[in-house]
Amino acid sequence: MRLNERSILKKIWGLIVNNDITKYVGLLPFLIFVTLFLILPSANLFLGAFRDQNQQFTLDNIKVLLNPYIQKSFIISFQVSIITSLVGGVFGFLVAYSITLGKAPHWLRRFLTIFSGLAANFGGVPLAFMYISTLGRTGFVTALLKNICFGPPEARSCPFDLYENGFNLYSMSGLVLAYTYFLFPMMVLTITPALEGMKKEWREAAENLGANSFQYWTKVGIPVLWPSILASMILLFSSSFGAFATAQALTGGSIYLVPIVIGQQIRGDVLNNPNEGYALAFAMVVVMAIAILLYTVLQKKTVKWTSST
């Protein structure tokens, strides 16, 4: 059975007719557009994930997840996403703290807020180029650090010669550095409202009761903030997990992240089975859906206490 867009439209039409038709008629252009260009393509992939070459229902395609090549790509993707969301999350939190509750000067706060808004929206190919120009083999910072040398000419040691010391931009550490460029600003932007919601009185009350800074954070600050921190980090995770362009441009596709493998599958069926490609795409969406669901649940928790105060 081939998925037919007419049957879907018919169903939606049926729903509309059963309700008060005049009420829904204004939504029709939007619904038709979304059905045709979002629902239908997605449904095509997801139904394909559970069909064999003869269009019969099967669960065999899910076995693609047992393929060692695919498993490795999921492991690498998870590693990169978890590391980047931790690095970006912790760094972003500390930056957000210093520009909200901390004592950073006004101009620095303003500058970092604007830069965060900008950098969180900056990515893709230009970002990869920026890192190549900066930390590539002939990059600006690479050259700068390379010339910091100690000792006599015959036994000179250059401890900051990155590429002599095993660093490679076109590797996982390069990806982590590049992703952090847009992930930590995203953390700054998403965690700032929660930090601004921390009442001064809480701290004063704690101090009046004899608590020190450490006790305040472990007993009040972190318990109040953790849903927001976790929610923001999950957002970073999903952003990193779905990213394609930066990785493709930076490593030329030599690191097999899941999105890179899907890209190869689009260009030329590397799995030798189109339906397994669909199953792979489906698995990726499942990961993303779980992440966004967790984010939403945690975010609701946050909204509860910020709105009650």
Binding site: K23, P29, S98, G123, G124, P126, M186, R267, M288, I292
Partner: protein, 266 residues
């Protein structure tokens, strides 16, 4: 004493962030000026700007961005308006639909788009024109979360029902209500959504690359594979464009208290 140490760490993390932002930017700028051996020159920029392929793809992406933004405004403003006015219970569904592009990664979405529209009965990838229609549709979907959110925030801030009833009691028809009351009322929200969407379309790689259209993103990848200095110049230029667009956006949105930061462009 305690105050002082808090101060130190605030400065430390603040300046670390500053460095993280500016160092790659400075490195790229420096690199982009060194195409001529031994001197600082704008040669890399001149080479890029005089490359007909660059001009073609730049023009293409700008036209695509403008078409995308126009259609998506015409599509979303009436939809959100109608939802507020007639079917408020549809709003949660609309919200879920609008964040689907965050849950479905771009590469997966483009995968589905190509598999659906590159074969009958919906074959659209044979002629450039039809492919461009598909590209615009794809861009509208990819920017939908930003557009929807901006318009939704704007619509929430005006009393849609009262305004509509007042206008109608004065004899205005639907078109007049939309064009003369609603659009001006949510103008700022529309502009901010449009600017972010436009910037995203200009920098988008996956759609143009996989549908083999001459978009700017695909051109950049091509240049990145074969040249050294030109990509740096392109990065600086695209950073400048993002600055301009988003700087304008910050001014328009009055201080930039926006909540639409779910960025999954990578």
């Amino acid at each position: 004493m305690k105050k002082k140490s808090a101060n130190f760490w605030s400065y430390f993390w603040g300046f670390s962030a500053l460095l993280y932002f500016t160092l790659p930017l400075y490195g790229t700028l420096d690199f982009s000026l060194r195409m001529k051996k031994g001197e600082i020159s704008l040669m890399a920029y001149q080479v890029v700007l005089s490359d007909p392929k660059f001009l073609e793809s730049f023009r293409y992406s700008i036209v695509m961005g403008l078409i995308t933004v126009t259609i998506s405004i015409l599509l979303f403003v009436p939809t959100v308006y109608w939802t507020y006015l007639k079917v408020p219970k549809f709003r949660p569904i609309l919200e879920v639909i609008s964040i689907l592009p965050f849950i479905i990664p771009t590469i997966v979405f483009v995968f589905g788009l190509i598999r659906t529209f590159s074969r009958p009965p919906l074959l659209m990838t044979l002629t450039p024109l039809k492919t461009d229609v598909l590209m615009v549709a794809g861009y509208i979907v990819l920017t939908m979360p930003y557009m929807f959110r901006s318009i939704d925030v704007g619509m929430k801030s005006i009393d849609v029902k009262t305004l509509t009833e007042a206008a109608q009691s004065l004899g205005a028809n639907w078109i007049q209500v939309l064009l003369e009351i609603i659009f001006p009322g949510v103008k700022l929200a529309i502009i901010s959504g449009a600017l972010i969407s436009f910037a995203l379309v200009i920098g988008e790689l996956i759609l143009g690359d996989f549908l083999v259209r001459p978009a700017l993103g695909a051109y950049m990848v091509l240049v990145g594979r074969s040249r050294a200095y030109e990509p740096a110049a392109l990065s600086i230029m695209s950073y400048a464009i993002t600055w301009l667009v988003l700087g304008f956006f910050l001014i328009v949105s009055n201080g930039g208290k926006t909540k639409t930061y779910w960025v999954g462009k990578g």
